[in-house]
Subunit: 221 residues, 2 copies
DNA sequence: CCCTGAGTCTGTACGCTGTACAGAGATCGA
DNA sequence: TCGATCTCTGTACAGCGTACAGACTCAGGG
């Protein structure tokens, strides 16, 4: 392998992703531009193209980093019932991603295919195998779980201002209730009658409710 | 109510949404700009701001239109078992949205809160009540179903080129399998072993599989 | 040791974006 | 007919992603 000549790199992929993540957290999703990232690491905008082919690649790396921040040790801890382990990891990932409302938009734009996401999938398959699912069922179930996870988080994040940190859950629910109070009860009787429940869609409680039913359905099969 | 004076409007919200939808289908998501929409309806770019406060509002209306294109008559047809009715509507919506890969990105950026989406929710609540769920459970279940629906569609669409119409399902699965063949089997044995199943995540078959398990979990409760 | 060539970074530039602002023209009620 | 009011246009701004050309920095071969 010939060593490549040229000056030492002044940056690293990690530094770039870190800068992007910092901007994401502090100034929101719209503030993450090639120029702002470059400014953050003290470099001309185009320098980033030495490390990533385009902006989408940077964002994919950001998402993978966020996913990677979620520890997967819980998955392997056999002293805890496997359902609870899935719950914990799901809750952790959800919290982590909702902390960066801007990031969630990215999540579904480019699917989780980074190394950290692969690792996540593999560990999830471990747990599902442990739960007694066949190889094929485990694979299908893992995808279904990821769909639910990302879908929930995305729908929750959609209600958030991507430019600001997420307000506490109670506030978010209260805010949402106001929206449902405006629904005309004649045209949409059921929706209006369940407005309280619907306002609480955006809550940990509902998230776990759905997750539990889904897991039930998956292992019952 | 005083009638507002001024010249007759030369456009309508519908015309604008229609133009956006046309662009979306023909030239992909990135081609939908205020300028291109305005060009399509033969008007200066800013004229659109008379009808919509900003671009996001246009896109929300586009999504609602797509949702509205899915007929909900099936939901009400009591000669068909309710599970099958949910299946059919879900499949219809999925097909409709995957036909516009660019649109799906929008779906989760701004949640379904348009009138057509409300209608959809209400009819879904009807069916779930018919299935024997309590008011609260039906509300929660409907949200969980929507999460699954949108999550599935989003993850499928994420693999598609938003600038082109979707290729047939077989091609998409084959394309994906190539990606999984590159997964190192030592580090990710389960992932590698299930590569075939995973490639088929992006398929009607898997979509229905997950939907069925989810519905099972929801009504079992 | 210097030279060559590859790799990294900068400056500049292009075409595009969303949309704010000012004003022209059309149309109504009075 | 007048004035108010609304719709649409022209222009403009700041920002975007990124292509291109070139300057600089270095490692290895002669």
């Amino acid at each position: 392998m010939p060593v490549k000549p040229g000056p030492k790199r002044s940056l690293s992929e990690e530094a770039i992703v870190g800068a992007a993540l910092k901007l994401l957290g502090e100034r929101g999703g719209d503030a993450v531009s090639m120029r702002s990232i470059a400014g953050e690491v003290g470099v001309a905008p185009n320098a980033i193209y030495t490390y990533f082919p385009d902006k989408a690649a940077v964002l994919r790396a950001v998402v993978d980093r966020l996913v990677g921040e979620q520890s997967l040790d819980v998955f392997a801890d056999r002293t805890v019932p496997w359902r609870r382990r899935i719950q914990e990891v799901a809750l952790g990932l959800r919290a982590r991603l909702l902390d960066h409302p801007g990031a969630t938009r990215l999540l579904l734009g480019a699917p989780m295919d980074g190394p950290k996401a692969l690792e996540f999938g593999e560990r999830l398959l471990d747990v599902l195998a442990e739960a007694g699912l066949s190889e094929e069922d485990a694979a299908r179930a893992s995808y279904t779980l990821i769909v639910y996870l990302l879908g929930s988080i995305a729908l929750e994040a959609a209600e958030l201002d991507p430019a600001k940190p997420a307000p506490p859950e109670e506030e978010r629910v209260a805010e949402r209730r106001k929206g449902f109070e405006a629904v005309p009860a004649q045209a949409f009787p059921r929706t209006a009658a369940s407005a309280d429940v619907m306002a609480a869609y955006i809550s940990t409680d509902q998230f776990l409710w759905g997750l539990e039913r889904l897991v039930d359905g998956l292992v019952r099969g």
